[in-house]
């Protein structure tokens, strides 16, 4: 049996309401799922369904109200070195060069300088940014900046990568290139990832499984195993005739057709 890397066990998250008399807002209701070693799982759902809340609980920044989150069997109570996250915004620090940005996590974790340089430079080569190591973020395009953010996330060698719509701010073509980069990198490094997106085709192209969430209070209403070969090559996978039926199934689950009518 494969090892479980990330586990959500009956997790509920409530936020206090704006007015004190109102009942608290339930963002996520009784969510349970696991992500096995080397697996890539996407979560899709309508906006405001608590996808990002799940991610915040996974990273330990925001504790669950009820239930537990485990990473590598350890209960997550605060930020830890096993998890790293990546957002839609690249969050690169303008005063650091690209290499220094990639080294941020390693620096915080107190790794020696030589190690940091070596790891950062290796990853920047992988992310095809070797010519921009000493550039500043403002000198790079949006796609390059997001690739640098990816390198920064991978640099700390996390057991689980948490990604919150990392490509949604990019144009359609850049997005496909980065999806390809991510698919290949995840396969090469055999990383485990939880990927939040609202792009159905992206979810299918990149993941082994797709979890579908309902409207708030968000809960998992369906799990779909993506049975298309070549997860390491999202570009090819997109071309598979099986993608269409999966997208239709997801559209139905999310009631997208009803929203149009």
């Amino acid at each position: 049996m494969t090892r479980i890397r990330l586990e959500f066990h009956n997790v509920t998250k409530r936020f206090p309401a704006r007015k004190r008399i109102d009942p608290p807002v339930v963002a996520v209701q009784d969510v349970s799922f696991t992500v096995a070693d080397g697996e890539v799982v996407s979560i899709i759902g309508p906006s405001g369904c608590g996808k990002s809340t799940l991610l915040n609980m996974g990273s330990g920044l925001d504790p669950a109200s009820v239930g537990e989150v485990f990473v590598d069997g350890e209960l997550v109570t605060r930020p830890n070195e096993h998890v790293a996250f990546m957002l839609q915004k690249d969050l690169l620090l303008p005063w650091r060069t690209i290499r220094e940005n990639v080294e941020l996590g390693l620096e915080i974790q107190g790794r020696p300088t030589q190690d940091r340089h070596r790891i950062a430079e290796e990853l920047l080569v992988k992310c095809r940014l070797q010519d921009f190591i000493h550039h500043y973020p403002h000198q790079l395009s949006g796609g390059m900046r997001q690739r640098a953010a990816m390198a920064r996330t991978l640099a700390v060698d996390p057991a689980v990568l948490l990604m919150d719509e990392p490509f949604s701010a990019l144009d359609a073509q850049t997005k496909m290139v980065l999806q390809q980069d991510l698919g290949r990198t995840l396969a090469e490094t055999q990383k485990t990832a939880l990927f939040i997106t609202h792009d159905l085709a992206e979810a299918i192209a990149l993941s082994d499984r797709v979890l579908v969430m309902s409207q708030r209070p968000g809960t998992i209403i369906e799990e779909i195993r993506v049975d298309i070969p070549g997860r390491d090559n999202p570009m090819e996978r997109r071309k598979s005739p099986k993608v269409g039926p999966y997208v239709s199934a997801l559209m139905e689950l999310l009631h997208i057709d009803q929203a149009v009518a």
Binding site: S59, G60, L61, P79, N80, E81, V83, A84, F85, L87, K89, L91, L93, P94, W95, R96, L104, G105, E107, I108, Q109, Y136, H138, V156
Partner: protein, 264 residues
Amino acid sequence: MNAILPQASTQRMMIGSVLLLILFLAAWQWLPGLLGIPAFIIPPASKVWSEFLHMLANDRLVYHAVVTALQVLAGFVLGVILGMVVGFVLGMSPTAEFMLSPYILALQIAPKVAFAPLFVIWFGYTVYPKILVAVLIVFFPVMINVLGAVRAIDPDIVRLARSFTASRLQVFWKIEFPAAMPPFFAGLRIAATLAVIGVVVGELVGGNTGLGYLLTFGEGAGNTAMVFVAIILLTLIGIVLYGVIVFIEGRVLHYLPARARKTA
């Protein structure tokens, strides 16, 4: 700017600047006389120059200028340190800001130079009242800019650092402190000019040293040229301080795109 313009054009601009300076000095020298303005209202440039030389020889001008410059420097440095520390503390603690903001606002609105007589009463004809006025006047632009910068930091950047298991101290040194640098330097530029004002007001109110003292002395003696000399030297002190700030800023904020930095 020089990088963009062709060299010939830069040269022409330099010649233009020099010509303008000569024109200005010539106008200063002869125009008041031609318009019938007496020398005790606007002394001609040559008169101010000879007064300058006279003051160097007889009035310990260098001593007074150095006293003023050192007071400006002391007031500036202390005010900047205080402004930076308070700005960071208030920026990181909304509770502290909420509780202290009425006092800070009141102190900010109060004309700082009005404190000069009070400080003279407290500390007498020493360097302290001058330095204190400068500290008070320098404090605000620095504090407000640092406070605003800390507030403007994207909370997701802090969350990112925390997800990498950063401690509070690491978040400060790796995120908050460097993020505050551009507005901090904008505050320093304003503070550099204000520091001179603070010290001069302190010297005008009481004391027998510094360029501010020479201003009142010149006024009392009806020596307009002396007043001009003091004003020019005070301006020079301000320009030097401002120039040093711009130089350091260029070094520290080298990572900013060129167009963002060229605001001087």
